[in-house]
Amino acid sequence: MSQNKKLIFKHFFIKEWKEKSLIFFLAVLFLAALTGIRLSGQDELTMYLSGMFVWIFLPFSAAMIGSSGFYHEYKNNAWIYLLSRPVRKPVVWIFKYIPQLTMVLVIYGIFLFVVLVLPGFKEILEAFSFSAWLFHYSALSSSLLISITAFSLAFSLSILHDKPFIIFLTTIFTGAGISFLVNLYSDFLYRNYYGMNDLIGMSYLWPAAFILGSLYTFSRVDFSQSKAKLTRFILITALSLIAAGAISTGLTLAHWHFRGRDYMYNLTVRRNDVFFRTKKGTLHYDKLKDKTTRITRRRGRAAASRSGDKALLLTYDYHQEGESRKYTYTLKLINSDGSEIRRLVSTQPPGTPFTGLRIRNFDISPYGQEVVFITENPQNSTMKLWTLRSDGSGEREFLPDIPDLDRISIAGWTSDKRIILLAVKRSPGQGTEMILLSFDPDHRTLERLASFIRKPHLCSVSSSGKFAAYVYFDPNAEEEVLEITDLFSGSRKEIHRGGSVQDIQWGKEKDILVFTIDANQVGIFSLKTGKISAFESIPAAVLDSLFPSLDWVSGDQKLALRGQDHEPEQILIMDRDLEVREIIHAPSSFRAIYSMDRTILIYNQTDNQLWCYDMDKEKWKKIY
């Protein structure tokens, strides 16, 4: 910028700040009151006023400043004076826009300063943060974005009318209307392109369309002709909005095509192997070879033996028949490199016991000798349990005699080759009930282990195959209970009562269980002592109920936990006494954490990335 322009900008800056000083001082007054209330320790009132500030006062103040963007030019009829000066009209527009925007930013900056300086204020504001489609939106950043948008929209419109109140109302209705339409369009795209995120860049592009319309109108149209001004503004803004929509759609679809659609599914982690599915097929990462290979182009998921050397691969495909999809399933025993050992089951060839059935669940025993799978007959919804040896021999079926059975899933294997099942019963009027069962394939018997199971994804069998841990709901106390059952003696041990159990993980080798309660409480239960050996609140931990947020590492001597809920995220390495011993900085944000003993895996669900960290080499590697 030339010296002359800098001088002009300086004078515009002073002019705009002086003209809008009243709104600025009102905002500062509000902030001073808020600070006073915070200092007096009135948490509830602080929370109420903070919410009001971030969601109402700041965006509305920004809209008010923007609405009076050209008010003084109208009021003083100073258009002629301003437009006849030797400076380009877009420069006049921008030199008015920037100082007024700085006013919005300064108000926000003061608020941010107060929030950061006063203890506990930031935490209070966190209550106003929200999540949508697995993304977290902070109240502070969302409020800033909304305020800048409101300001830009109001400022752009302010060239059209001399009454700020009219502009203010138009801003509110236009902003709400456009946001509604953008959401509607976003929903439409989401329905048609599964897995697509928000419209990329649209939050910035649509206010930019108004800025473009305003800049063009201000620069090129006869300002004294209200009708011409309005018509041209609407035309240019509408065209810009269409262009913004097209750009955003293009970016979003490109992202969806090249990355966004390429989601990872069915992640299975074993000691040295990781199996997962993407649109490219089913992939396998071999830790020992440090190599990822595609084991099939088909959709599939794998269940691997404990060592991971043998895996059971279920592939499936479908074709449309009228309005319904016809699925075909194939179950194969494969080596961990994907080479096929043998095909065990296929539902496609006619005349087999499996023809036309759907394979709902499957598993391979810890040492890879037995296979179990569950089928459903689509005609009558009958569920059957099938067992066979991994060499393909000894195929047997079992029809569970469970009234109102809705579905069955496999929770694990005992060391004497019994299968632990989770059955869901659904009866009209009585709702849903989940029960834990033990199935003896030799004697074809089912034994009930526990009732009122909650959170079925947490139900799991220890690596020794001697214990099962699960969460059930105590109807009398009306609270969740974490419990362990001895799968041989049938004795039950209550581990924790109350709160919300978020996650449980059995040791890889030992009968030791780590569990998490609510937001950041972690406990360790040892079967050897029959006691909780440690139970601590870990404020730095970020625990999740949907994804695993901790796992055992280093021969079950240490724990790896997800820590810190913003980038750069961290992995906390803790001893069994729950003391943080090491912090590892993650290369990207992540939602889930898994362990392959001395290798830690993190899954970035937002960007579909899988990273592994070698604890010995202290190196990160992107697997996918």
Partner: protein, 238 residues
Amino acid sequence: MTAVLKITHLSKKYGRNQVLDGFTMELEKGKIHGLIGKNGEGKTTLIRIIMGIIPKEKGEIYYKGRLIRFGDTSYKKEIGYIAEDSVFFDWMTVNQFLAFNAAFYPRWNQSQADAYLKRLSLSPGIRIKSMSRGMKLKLGLIAALASNPEILLLDDPTSGLDVPTRQDFLNHMIGEIKAKGTTILFATHMVHELENIIQRLSILHNGRLILDNDYKKIKKAQDKNRSIEEIFLNHVSE
């Protein structure tokens, strides 16, 4: 004749109202040009187009031989302009306004501005909102002259002025500006005001120039005793 500003075939309409229709005119360096016409004949529109405030539809404008396009700004640094109703940001003081205005003009002469303030008895600390129309005209004049313009465009500057201020403006100030070699275009519907000050007269009627000549020659060609008002009426009623 050296034309410092040349306008050719200029047209502008508002909706269906054709305000300027092939308007052509030249401003001769160092002379005072009177542009007269009835209210709404397009004098203000013409000056706003010259100043790049509003776009034209057709025609060209040349400043010192260079074609001016809508959006150009450099030529404006050499043109002073006093609008029909000189209004500025009313919360500013005289000094604040002059400082704001000075930022636009590299050739701004602050000592000249100070001298004009004294000459026109304007207090630097007075707020614009408390100033009379005459005082605002003076302020506009100072703002225009302190930038050392080549051309001064005056758009009905005296309408609404009290008599002493108007007389001072017409009898003294205009002469002083001309004495510096500044070219002046004085557009007004109060035609009698131009009687003793202009060197060239142009009459705008129905969007076109119907008379554009040296004022002395016009007087010579017609009855010497005819006033400028009579000349004007004679032409617009033909």
